[in-house]
Symmetry: C2
Subunit: 477 residues, 2 copies
């Protein structure tokens, strides 16, 4: 290439990067591609790219420090919002779209710096990173010939492996056709909502209960029938006609009670009588400490129950892998709905999970995390007994990865103030208020949902100590 | 453990495996877990498990060959269906559920053994397996501290990387908040259907057009307004009032025309006038051969257009990764809908794609696959000219990964017979009939959609040769 042509290309690269900076594609502090990558992208030599970067540094668009990659200079203007706010007219949305905007949005707060008891987080140290990487690698090596869309209900290797696992771990007997692999339990709940509820249909739901299940069912246009929970799980003595009931029978979320045997029978009898479907969310069925394992509802009423399982509490919530066990009659509608929703769940991840299940590595891993979470739980209970004695009553610690701490001396109306004070002291805790139906009654004292699976024992102890000091100094009502 | 206790455990393991075989959790030929895995699962020695396996082999439940793992004996009965067919009453479904059962189901035929021209398949040899495994590994190593749910609209690293990519590759200028990461374009289309359509709302769609887009919009209760396609793309001269229009302007699916500049302007003017939203499916925008790149519709009407992109044609359809660019006003509804649908797309896969984009590896890879698919396309065009001369008219080969072969001497009504004859001869081809609205007109001759991205040049040539011979011998109408 002659000198003139090279200068022309350098100028074009310079102009292109300036335009990207002006358009906000690169903001102040953003790293630019390496000279090697940009040279490959433009099909030019690295010398040409180095010249272009040199020009941009000279003009003040870029900065570079000690051989590191060039970054956009701090003085360059921030990315401009694409459309002025005035132009953003309220969009015309479907009834579904309008309903979801009316629902309360999730909170996105930063974790507390001393300890954060956010429920749903796991410790990254517990993730079987090596085994997972190997299984993902093996899945991609095995693939030969063609890359093609998979079956909507899930890879057959995974459904077969889950069939065996569900039998061994939970006593569920089902055919692989009854298993639908989904992107975590949330997608399973959303598919249930879409396939079972029409706008105006009633659904029974535990009160307090899991907020994102409630929201998915409300988004489908369902009308909630919030149903109280006591020490034996959801009360089933006065269930109305409804299309479905959502329950967490193994470990009620958030209060932790186990649905009693007589209520299980009554719930299934109600479903059989009224034609309702029971959604059994077994969100943390792998974690039990002081209680014997209880067979899922599904084993008592396979025609009435859709069982929802997930690896979000055993492997990672970041993976988005879950599974449904549906009655025979629901196999086709769920498969077709999954196909139209997103064709199928990521195949490499499905195959990696199938490998871990088939080799026994998954069950070994579950035993390990059960032991570790048992230790975390013991540390939390000990710390609460030592540092919050008299201020806190614990509920629901027999199973799962969280417990509820009722603050006996703090009125319900001050729950938000306690949480703000804890957060100011560096400890993240989470309110029980949003888990109650806003129209119904709730206990008179404040309550905290404390998840412990993301913390080590030291952080748990430090966090509870701060909490205890804060509660001791918290002004009486 | 004393002998008696050990025998008791052996008996329980034997009984458990027998029950799993009888219940169909293990079928004939299935491998059992290794003795090591099962020993870990039961918390016993491998000797105990070996004794249990020995007993099951002796009783004829299991077989073993040359030190390989035990498998279930061939003579053991097949897994029984879980519920007798009589018990499976028709389920009570929502209107959505009833609509999807009325839609035509996808076909799941085996690939032709000589060549299979299924559209959507990619060659596994094109996948950047090493780079992808490295990026997945790097993502899992980077993760420290906590595993927690991500942002519903996608990881910010990926949205920033996509912002730059969309600018460089497609000239799209948008803020990262306008990008929503989805599980492939199908989830993007389904979210559009749910958020924009109420039952009874009309939607404009190309005829012929992409079947799974049509089905997702019909499943939401929309009423299709099939709109004819000619050499300039979809006709826009008589669009009715509608809530949305679905178009493939860069390379009409399946006919391959490019939406002309004047029609682009007219379509956007219609959308602005009526308040409709245009869904631009840029499903194969990376593949262009003889034509200059055409900027997406989105660049002309960012307030009217939802842009849909995917990596299903560049990396793999098995990954389920795609993205939307939505108008500012739609950011919140799409993020909330994605949260309720499945919280977010798999984070490790999002981060791996972000890495490939940021390093320039993705764009290098796209250049490679564009060259390889250009070679496949040239092989297919040359083979059709040589072996099907006079029998076939090719359409839509200027871009993308497929073309349409019109069979000039075969009537439309015999399309199915031609495809069956080709399949019998070992070549998989796919009909154009299902892509036309069943109520509307279609061309009088049979047509085949031939995808070539999953085949090597040799298979393409062999497949076309078989096709040519078959067509030459196909009885005249």
């Amino acid at each position: 290439m002659d000198q003139l042509a090279q200068e022309g290309i350098t100028r074009r690269i310079v102009a292109s990067i300036k335009a990207q900076i002006h358009d906000g594609a690169y903001g102040p502090g953003d790293r630019l591609p390496s000279t090697r990558a940009l040279a490959a992208e433009w099909g030019v030599s690295r010398t040409t790219v180095t010249a272009a970067y040199g020009q941009l540094i000279a003009e003040g668009y870029l900065e570079t420090h000690q051989g590191a990659r060039a970054i956009v200079a701090a003085g360059i203007r921030d990315p401009a919002p694409q459309a002025p706010a005035a132009a953003a007219a309220p969009p015309r949305l479907s009834a579904f779209g309008r309903r979801i905007l009316d629902l309360p949005a999730g909170t996105g707060e930063e974790p507390g710096r001393i300890a954060d008891f956010r429920y749903g987080d796991l410790s990254a140290a517990d993730f079987p990173a090596l085994a997972w990487r190997r299984a993902i690698g093996a899945a991609s090596l095995r693939r030969s010939g063609r890359l093609r869309y998979g079956e909507p209900q899930g890879a057959s290797a995974l459904r077969l492996a889950l069939q065996g696992y569900l039998w061994r771990a939970r006593g569920i007997r089902c055919g692989p056709d009854q298993i639908v692999v989904v992107n975590g339990s949330q997608q399973g709940l959303d598919l249930c909502a879409r396939l079972l509820l029409d706008p105006g249909d009633r659904f029974v739901i535990e009160n307090p209960g899991y907020a994102l299940a409630r929201r998915a069912l409300l988004a489908a246009g369902g009308e909630a029938v919030p149903t109280p929970v006591d020490g034996e799980g959801m009360r089933v003595d006065a269930l109305p006609d409804a299309r479905l009931a959502y329950v967490t029978p193994s470990h009620q979320f958030p209060l932790g009670s186990v649905l009693s045997a007589s209520r299980r029978r009554a719930l299934l009898a109600w479903a059989a009588r009224t034609g309702a479907t029971v959604i059994e969310d077994d969100y943390d069925g792998e974690y039990r400490y002081d209680i014997a394992p209880i067979p899922p509802l599904q084993t008592l009423g396979p025609e009435q129950v859709i069982y929802v399982g997930t690896v979000s509490k055993t492997l990672s919530p970041t993976l988005r892998l879950g599974y449904l066990v549906v009655p025979e009659a629901f196999c086709r509608p769920f498969a077709e709905a999954k196909r139209l929703t997103d064709r199928h769940t990521s195949l490499p991840e499905q195959e990696a999970l199938a490998d871990l299940l088939a080799s026994g590595a998954y069950e070994r891993h579950v035993r390990t995390t059960r032991r570790r979470n048992g230790e975390r739980r013991a540390a939390l209970l000990a710390a609460l007994a030592a540092d919050c004695a008299g201020a806190v009553t614990v509920a629901g610690a027999e199973a799962g990865l969280h417990l509820v701490a009722w603050l006996d001396r703090v009125a319900a109306g001050r729950e938000g103030a306690v949480i703000a004070a804890a957060r100011a002291a560096g400890v993240g805790t989470y309110p029980i208020a949003p888990l109650y139906d806003p129209a119904g009654p709730r206990p008179p004292m404040a309550g905290l949902v404390l998840g412990y699976a993301g913390l080590d024992a030291g952080a748990i102890r430090r966090g509870v100590q701060v909490l205890g000091q804060m509660l001791a100094g918290f002004p009486a009502p």
